[in-house]
Subunit: 135 residues, 4 copies
């Protein structure tokens, strides 16, 4: 039953050298890749591979996003990313993200995204029933 | 005089192959690099090189950001990015961004960022007087 | 006639902030994106859009590559990239690249790639006749 | 004693969505970031954090590199990267890389890099004695 689907997951990510900028800190464009990894792993914990969803013609595209950067993360820092489904509607899913440094728990960033479910041609379609979470 | 400083600029950017994803569209993480290019060129049009500011110990870090993705952009598309200063306070600057496809004017994305002015150690400092825009 | 096809092109690229690393210099992983831009523009100068080739089912994949990094490039540097077809065989094309800083002509890097022509399934196919250069 | 230093390490890397291109395969520019991760982890296994080396003023820059791409890697594939020191001279280190898909052992790519040891100003310096490997 859909109520059994997990709504949150924590993953660890180590900051790569090529991800920091001239100031030596994680560049703000890289966080979105981390958040995407969080979504992939949350799906996997629910029994879905996003790769398979795409093969079947179900795509999720980012329709809007926002983030607050609260403290810098440096090269080689190990971060813990919490990814959470905050709302699921007919064709859209909202996620919230919390990124902390593992060593001391310092909050690095928070973020939110809204994804739309689309087909191969980019037309909005309903989220597959088996993926639906109850509130 | 600071009132002479330009508040908006349009630049053209061609989408690179490595910037699109498996869906063939510009990945949402790349927009932030485009927006950063807009800020760099807006500064340049005002007579500043961000590189020199950093050499002098004045850094601008992204404190928060948000975007709405309204239509996909594909590989090799030429986009026009409008970058605008919307608010300047003692230690922070807000920018707004509008990204359109050049060929047909279609709105691809809009975005906003808030930058904080910091020193080499990341401590918040006032924006240099010569950079201040009057409202 | 194919003999009329241009074999070399120079393009200018300004180094983006997100492309430099903690040492403040262009990260070695970014050069390949520049070289790819050179190939795209060389094709365009020959009357081809790589985007259209892909739509028609003709893809070029990098089979091997090498580079020497001779001097660092910094953020905001304007570079001049020379891209040249050095050899064209039945199913492969070799390119050579030379990247210089525009302001003083300093050689930043040289590189070579071998591309293989493949179809949508990744099977090697002959390079289309209209794209063939005579030696 | 330096003879005790490990010369090879295997790490696992899962291909991220933002790392594949429009063909759905890992873009050739991303491999260098993976190879860099391999070097970081090999150093760590030897008791060094590259981050600390940089803090102390010892930097390693890529002077040359090459790779052969033998089979495509797709989004979400788990890869195993073997990183090996193949030669260490006074101021330079050579590494070799072998990247395989974990599920079936297929060879995805091989690569080599030569790093030069430099100080904060980019001047070539001897590799610190405690890092030296005997042949």
């Amino acid at each position: 039953m859909s109520t059994a689907l997990q709504k949150t997951i924590d993953i660890e990510i180590r900051v790569r050298y090529a991800e920091v900028d001239a100031m030596g800190v994680l560049h703000h464009s890289r966080y979105w890749t981390y958040f995407e990894m969080g979504r992939t792993e949350l799906l996997r914990s629910q029994g879905f591979a996003y790769r398979d969803l795409e093969s079947e013609g179900t795509f999720f595209v980012v329709a809007r996003c926002s983030a607050k950067f609260r403290a810098p993360a440096g090269y080689d820092d190990v971060l813990v990313l919490k990814t959470q489904v905050t709302k699921m509607r007919q064709v859209k899913i909202d996620h919230a993200y919390e990124l902390r440094r593992k060593s001391d728990g310092v909050l690095i960033a928070t973020g939110e995204t809204t994804l739309a479910c689309v087909d191969r041609q980019g037309r909005v379609i309903p989220i597959p029933a088996r993926m639906r979470l109850e509130d």
